[in-house]
Symmetry: C2
Subunit: 476 residues, 2 copies
């Protein structure tokens, strides 16, 4: 399969545009709206029969802050600097400081832009749990801001901005963004799949080939192609090569188009990929809040994280560092019905019975509980620094263990690695040089977060840097 072709091999251009956007999810929509808004003749290709992509399957949470109108309306103070400190510490071992700075400084305005596109937010805060609220409230905690170690270095604020709809709000978000694109000067061609980029010998991208119902059309592009086709959670070979452990996850979050096609197009044109091993792994086992009073243990019967960390961080730790072997141990006082129904893998009158049922090393859970309880008596957790409100000795029988293993539990995964781009969405080669005329946005590119995920960062960076890519591509 040749994903790049020479302009001399194109006998006839079927169409000519200024900016070509590939993929109509959140990132593509933001890019198209912005490019078209500058007056550039903009065409969006979408391989499905309608726009929406993975964004329309998502919870719809958008990670924004720094003092948005919504945060203020809900009574929360926030500052770009606090958001910056949180993201720099939580987004993985090698965070992109320039992008994070821009994202935090531009977040208030970006929220206004979303509102201006017609995305509705109800100015109310949801207290119930973190992540996606079951109500139509607009603001929610969607990260580890209040958990150790982040609470020590940045003032926490809830930053999950959620369109006004109950439960999963991705469909509403995309209904509004696609409608905005439809109302704009940008044109949309559905059932069109981009199969190749047209590249000059000097590296410049000057067009693309698109397939629709068996016919191939050659599109000449004057200013820039923006790849926004999503990640690669549905490409088995890419997962096996780059993120093999993710294949164990039972739930793979992604529309059918998340097969890595945009990443492969970009790489074929000389683009570098970054952090292809990274994935968001949500393990929502400590919802409602009270379940954070339990302890998560691994196959050695050891705790391995502060249980009040956000579920995007829990999942990554459980899968990548502990082989997907985890159980949430509670006592009778702490037990409550989990938000996502699940079986108890073990119930017993004492920790030893739980150990035996889970086949944990003899004495391991007893030892772990002994140390945990000793400190919890004093409202302390010097081992993992869980917040005091979740600390109470687990002593009242019966004890129980919720199954949090990768075989039986919800490990909801999508990929975070992708093309390396600069802050204006330019796709970079392995030397960090831009490939002229080629841009990327959303999960086709490496995310702001490549570790310990906070919900809303993909819709957030996809739309924010999608706009920047649209502006830069349109400038030619």
């Amino acid at each position: 399969m040749r994903r790049v072709c020479d302009p001399r091999s194109v006998s006839r251009w079927d169409e000519e545009v200024d900016v070509l956007v590939v993929g109509l999810g959140a990132a593509g929509a933001a890019a198209a709206l912005t490019a078209a808004g500058t007056g550039a003749d903009t065409l969006v290709l979408e391989r499905a029969s309608g726009g929406g992509g993975t964004s329309a399957m998502s919870g719809g949470v958008i990670y924004l802050g720094g003092g948005t109108a919504l945060q203020t309306a809900c009574g929360f103070d926030d500052a770009p600097e606090e958001m910056f400190k949180y993201l720099m510490k939580s987004c993985g071992p090698s965070p992109d400081e320039e992008k994070i700075r821009l994202y935090c400084d531009g977040s208030v305005e970006h929220y206004e832009w979303l509102v201006a596109q017609g995305v509705p937010f109800k100015p109310t805060f949801y207290e119930g749990t973190s992540g996606e609220p079951p109500t139509d409230d607009g603001l929610v905690w969607s990260g580890s801001e209040r958990a150790y170690p982040f609470c020590e270095s940045a003032v926490p604020a809830p930053r999950g901005h959620v369109p006004r709809m109950e439960h999963q709000t991705g469909p509403l978000l995309m209904q509004k963004l696609v409608a905005a694109v439809e109302s704009s000067a940008a044109r949309i061609a559905v059932n069109h799949r981009c199969v190749a980029l047209v590249q000059e010998a000097d590296g410049r991208i000057v067009g693309a080939l698109a397939e629709s119902f068996g016919a191939t059309r050659a599109l000449r592009v004057r200013r820039g192609v923006i790849l926004a086709t999503g990640g690669f959670i549905h490409n088995e070979a890419m997962l096996e090569a780059h993120a093999p452990l993710v294949r164990q996850c039972t739930i793979r979050i992604g529309a059918e188009g998340d097969d890595g096609s945009g990443i492969l197009l970009g790489m074929a044109a000389g683009g570098a990929a970054l952090h292809m091993d990274a994935a968001s792994i949500s393990l929502p086992v400590t919802q409602p809040w009270g379940l954070k009073r339990g302890i998560l243990v691994n196959a050695q019967g050891q705790r391995f994280i502060n249980e009040d960390a956000y579920y995007g961080r829990l999942g990554e730790w459980a899968l990548f560092r502990h082989g997907g072997r985890a159980w949430l141990v509670v006592d009778d006082a702490v037990f409550e019905k989990p938000e996502y129904p699940r079986e108890l893998a073990a119930v017993g009158e004492d920790p030893g019975a739980i150990e035996r049922e889970l086949e944990l090393p003899p004495g391991s859970l007893e030892s772990t509980l002994g140390l945990y309880n000793r400190h919890a008596e004093n409202g302390e957790d010097p081992v993992f620094h869980k917040a005091p409100e979740y600390l109470r000795p687990l002593v009242r029988p019966p004890f129980g263990a919720f199954d949090c293993t990768v075989e039986s539990s919800i490990y909801a995964a999508f990929t975070l690695g992708g093309l390396h781009t600069d802050a204006d969405g330019r796709v970079l080669d392995p030397d960090g040089q831009a490939i002229p005329g080629l841009f990327g946005a959303g999960r086709t590119t490496s995310g702001l977060s490549v570790g310990g995920y906070s919900s809303g960062l993909s819709l957030g960076d996809g739309t924010f840097f999608g706009r920047r890519a649209g502006r830069c591509a349109a400038a030619g």
Copy 2:
């Protein structure tokens, strides 16, 4: 920087060869010897003033087995199938079964080939420690074969084959291999750096540009270019992008040429890179053997691995899973002088004193030792399955903790990721299609092992698959 150029931009070919090998380390030497041996006109470029590369800085251990003459002479039985089972389990989450099978089945013959090139091995076994022996003995344990979980699924055998020289034997290995290349029909051009590949529009590699003392020469290549320039441990930008935690390591194993140039050349020509996040991290803190009777604990005062695992596995676990926070705790009975001199980070009459000095959570080490000692009394370690010979309760004061933190200890690192190649060394694109005329070997390619490293696998796969690349490239 353009690493790929069009043949039409080459006005004159300064030289024409069948096979061009880039880099004269172990992989390049093996490739050149094999290509030249088939009668192909072979040229080797080496950017330094002499051959050797990182291989000449290494310990010289070569991981071979399946019943080599050396293993047999030392009284050890081994079988390709047992070696295969060990490597499939120990080489990372997504091992390359085809390559591992070939490597194990061909290992006995490959040992004979090394001997035939003049590499001497003394048929004696070194018992003292694992890894690089201080003696001139030929065979040593160089992996986790006898440790859990590997000992449960494959019959262990020592497989570290070491050229006959005291201490680091890489210089001797490369002296012999370079001499063999010099005696062969292959030509060597030192002080020549490959700066670009010449690629036809259809993807075929047909030449290369080499720089020497300011002048650029165009080399036409009829059959194949073999990239064997080493890894990227000395490329800060690549480390930051792909393996940022490795930057914390104090010792970076690599000749100056390990700056990723071959990987970048291959990627520029459309090659895919694999496992760029992987690195070998040696943490040789449990030498001599007796120190394996101590326990390794992390910043939570928890054990995190069976301490009898090979130091290539210890280092990876300590750095990637525990943030480089580790200490080896011993009691007075187990204390002995470490092979690599190091300070005790803490000494105290009881575990609490050690906790305080290391600032571990109060009670954590005491709890860990309690559980460990309780089982060690019975010669058992149900938590991490350390072998019984290293199990004894740690109870006799004073207690001590050797500093194994990444700041203060030896974390010796080199990269394991690189170009994706098939079993004949063909460089593959992101779709798994070979780039015609382009080959790779050694650490320019993704290693057999990309996790829990056993010493000798890089010299092993570099020479073994270097030979295969040489043969396949010469076949045109």
